[in-house]
Symmetry: C2
Subunit: 192 residues, 2 copies
DNA sequence: GTCTATACACCGATAGAC
DNA sequence: GTCTATCGGTGTATAGAC
């Protein structure tokens, strides 16, 4: 094989880095916290991520990208009726955000200075997600323009529900949004 | 009068602090940046805000609280038909977030360690806003339970639209959400 | 691959002159 | 009320032994 198996401690570290970055943001996830959370000393961290914190965050975004593709985007593109595909997405989204109790990494890294560093990856991830949902709606017979608007609404409601649930210290809004999402996305286009 | 007129430089500083905190978050708004943005030296900042950064952020939240009450909450509670009142809110919200180009201070301070510091004020502000919208809908004949759910949806869509617009680097989603908001809030309750 | 030690910049905050 | 100077602490990152 061209690439040998990566040491598992890096994958493991990336998963813990994801938790830190989305909870504390880029600047708030200090090396001290990272070291404590991963159990790796500073030297070990720089061994796995020679370019330092920026490389850690990049690795997290790549990991999330793979996770999203495997668990959300590909299932969304798979066969099956649109309702089931959307319901599957809802289940995965619920797991990703731990029922509304954890922030979104994309939103977290959109803040402050990290916005400039990761803005491209964030934009691409959001766009891919919108496109995937949009295609499901098109498959259900909704015209492309409306499909895209509804897909944007879905992402936007998920993100907003995370903010509101965090602000109110109550995950009910997030749960409710997820529960309503499939029906709302697939409801007949009303005449204007 | 019991209280003399506050020096205007503090008010002025608070307005600039609002911009900094919502752009960079609490930890990202460093004293160096604050000093540059306000034109005040460190000593002057600590003269106006003896308890330092935390007091600066508290002052910002109090300022936002007053601004919200005057520009959004009170008009929402005023006389007039519900549609007009909501339309007025939309206009003010559009100004507050500069057409979708600026983050929400409540969302910004909900991240990282500042969440613990300001969580109460954030929760109260969100709750007041939800209650005010909810009351407008009740005045329009919508039952209390549905009114509250719709009010939460409104806030959540605004917050999510800000996130999405920032992530996509395109304020169209925010504009669209605001434009649709009054009609969506006031539409007849559909039979289940 | 992990350790200890450390370099250097910046953080929030304070002291004292004016 | 603003200035300069500085404190102790912590930030990211690196060097070199093992």
């Amino acid at each position: 094989m061209a690439t040998k198996k990566q040491s598992s401690s890096r994958e493991e570290a990336v998963r813990k880095l994801l938790l830190l970055f989305r909870q504390y943001g880029y600047e708030g996830a200090t090396l001290t916290r990272i070291s404590e959370a991963t159990g790796l000393g500073r030297a070990s961290l720089y061994h796995h991520f020679p370019k330092g914190k920026e490389e850690m965050a990049t690795a997290v975004l790549e990991y999330v990208d793979r996770w999203m593709a495997e668990n959300i985007l590909n299932p969304l593109k798979a066969d099956g009726n649109p309702g089931d595909r959307l319901q599957n997405m809802v289940t995965k989204v619920n797991a990703l955000y731990e029922s509304g109790g954890r922030p979104c990494i994309l939103a977290a890294l959109s803040m402050g200075d990290s916005h400039d560093l990761f803005y491209r990856q964030i934009q691409t991830a959001l766009q891919s997600w919108i496109d995937a949902i949009s295609q499901v709606l098109i498959d259900d017979g909704i015209d492309a323009a409306n499909a895209r608007l509804r897909a944007e609404n879905a992402i936007l409601q998920i993100q907003g529900a995370l903010i509101l649930s965090r602000g109110l210290n109550n995950t009910a809004p997030f749960q409710r949004v997820l529960q309503q999402l499939p029906d709302e996305l697939l409801q007949p286009v009303r005449a204007s």
